[in-house]
């Protein structure tokens, strides 16, 4: 190698350092200015009394004390937990079921299609359709009436039934994508251990328990983690269907945060709820990431 070639290599390495910074800068700047600065500002506001006029006034933990004293806050926490549990049980569970039923089945792609149609509908769109179906005397009540069941509950009014039916509406939307993800997981399972297990006479439930479930575990961790993080932030569908009502009965944390901030203009309390929601989401994310990492090492 000649000396001038080494020289160019050196020069270009130095040049890369600067161009590397140039390439990463737009992303870092946009994320810093538009995500991290607002994030820190919300943390700051949660320790102040502020309604958008004048200056924020430092009040220490007063907003957090107020938050934990408020029965509505606990109602929202309970509803949010119901959302987390419900969306794990129903859309993830049925999604796995659909994936298993269509797996290696002739025409499986077509049979999966009905479940995929609602997936790309917005939360508000789902809310519009299901509000119409579940309204008093609506499509569901008419269908039940045809079977002689006239004494139906008020689906969107009685709590906690309204949260349950909204979870079911979300399940209608979410089953397809979970089925799709589990299908990808099933297709990536190597053939040999499967054939061997089938030779040994494993079938149905035993095949699932001994081979499929362990092989699907890393993917299941991902689907479960995504589902938990998404359900903690539930907002659109509830705002679209009940607006958190009646009287806050179906509010989730995200809804209470929105209401305190933008309806009651209590910026401090709204920010405190946002911080609480963030801490819960981060804890859930860390738990799931750890689970995912350990299961990857374990298998």
């Amino acid at each position: 190698m000649t000396s001038d070639k080494i020289l160019t290599a050196h020069a270009s390495k130095d040049q890369f350092r600067w161009s590397a910074r140039g390439f990463v800068a737009p992303g870092v700047l946009l994320v810093a200015v538009l995500l991290y600065v607002p994030l820190l500002w919300t943390v700051f506001i949660s320790f102040t009394e502020y309604n958008g006029l004048g200056d924020p006034e430092w009040v220490g933990f007063a907003n957090y004390v107020e938050m934990f004293d408020d029965p509505q806050f606990f109602n929202s926490v309970l509803n949010t937990l119901l959302w987390v549990g419900g969306t794990l049980l129903v859309p993830v569970g049925i999604g796995l079921g659909v994936a298993l039923l269509t797996w290696n089945l002739k025409g499986g792609t077509w049979l999966r299609l009905p479940f995929l149609i609602p997936y790309a509908v917005s939360g508000i769109g789902v809310g519009v359709i299901w509000s119409f179906i579940l309204g008093s005397g609506g499509a569901l009540d008419q269908a039940l009436g045809a079977f002689g069941i006239d004494d139906t509950p008020r689906w969107l009014v009685d709590a906690p039934l309204n949260t349950v039916v909204m979870i079911l509406a979300t399940a209608w939307q979410g089953v397809g994508v979970n089925a799709l993800l589990f299908t990808i997981g099933l297709q990536s399972i190597p053939r040999e251990p499967l054939e061997a297990a089938k030779m040994d006479g494993a079938n149905g439930l035993r095949l699932f328990r001994s081979i499929l479930w362990p092989m699907l575990r890393p993917l299941t961790a991902v689907v479960v983690g995504l589902s938990i993080v998404a359900s903690l932030k539930t907002f659109d569908i509830v705002q679209g269907m009940t607006k958190g009502g009646p009287g806050g009965a179906s509010e989730t944390l995200a809804l209470t945060m929105y209401k305190e901030t933008f309806v009651n203009s209590d910026y401090g309390l709204g920010s405190a709820i946002a911080v609480f929601l963030t801490v819960v989401t981060l804890v859930a994310s860390i738990l799931y990431l750890r689970q995912q990492l350990s299961s990857k090492h374990g298998v």
């Binding site: 994320v31 500002w41 508000i124 932030k233």
Partner: protein
């Protein structure tokens, strides 16, 4: 094996019944969105009456200014993810190909922008937008949608570029190409399938966004259509329910069609984001 074919028949039957059940809300949406406000009644939802779907869609577009809203939403859903995938790819390129110092720390810093809920930025964005005149502007909406799309784009693109051998980069340098040229002519084209996957995921997410539109915009022309649809539902949900349903159909159709035709890209994008 008779046992096996019987099992297959049962599986097909279960899926077909469950699938039909899943299609019932779609059926109800279609037939009721097609009823003219005159024949529409809340007491008979299961039988189709007439076909005024296009009149209803026209009326829905008039009622909430959905027509202009559609164009604005299209702008957000195309421009923001397009910028975000390129910015994200540039960050990934800097970290992987250019071997940025402390690259992993920068990567974590960018990706960290996606782990907290949007609720954490709503109030400051509203406050800042009101003060700077970005509130209720298309520019403001494009900026915020771009920012929230960048972390995921950077995450996927960095992971994708890690799979490209570094001597591809070295060979291009020996050929005398500038880093910008290597990025634009070598790395971006190689990553086109990942770029498309991320773009489609983000475009769908932005098209379906409700919360940011609710907080950062006000007028019918700037508001994303999903936010307008929610407003329409609470204002006209009584007497003109069939028009609202037609609006719901109009708002939902683009992403549903896009998703059904790009399932593979979609699944790929989701999978890329997770491993």
């Amino acid at each position: 094996m008779p046992f096996k074919s019987a099992a297959r028949a049962i599986r097909t039957a279960v899926l077909a019944v469950l699938g039909l059940f899943w299609l019932l809300p779609v059926y109800l949406l279609l037939i009721n969105a097609a009823k003219s406000p005159l024949t529409f009644t809340t007491t008979e939802s299961w039988r189709p009456t007439d076909f005024s779907l296009f009149d209803n869609i026209g009326e829905a577009m008039r009622l909430s200014g959905l027509a202009e809203g559609v164009l604005s939403t299209l702008l957000y859903a195309v421009v923001s993810p397009a910028i975000a995938v390129v910015v994200g790819a540039a960050a990934g390129f800097a970290i992987v190909a250019l071997r940025l110092r402390h690259g992993f720390a920068w990567f974590v810093a960018i990706f960290g922008g996606t782990v907290f809920p949007l609720q954490m930025i709503l109030l400051p964005m509203f406050d800042a937008y009101s003060r700077t005149g970005l509130f209720d502007t298309r520019t403001g909406m494009v900026i915020v949608y771009t920012a929230i799309s960048i972390p995921f784009s950077a995450f996927v693109m960095r992971n994708f570029f890690t799979g490209i051998a570094h001597n591809v980069f070295e060979a291009a340098v020996l050929d005398g190409a500038s880093t910008w040229r290597i990025f634009a002519r070598v790395y971006l084209p190689m990553a086109s399938s990942a770029l498309v996957a991320v773009f489609i995921l983000q475009a769908t997410f932005i098209w379906n966004d409700f919360l940011l539109g609710l907080v950062l915009s006000q007028s019918d022309t700037v508001r994303p259509i999903v936010t307008s649809l929610a407003g329409m539902q609470s204002t006209y949900g009584g007497a003109q329910m069939s028009v609202v349903l037609a609006g719901g159909l109009l708002v939902s159709l683009p992403t549903v069609v896009l998703f059904l035709f790009t399932q593979k890209f979609f699944a790929r994008g989701l999978a890329l984001g997770q491993y």
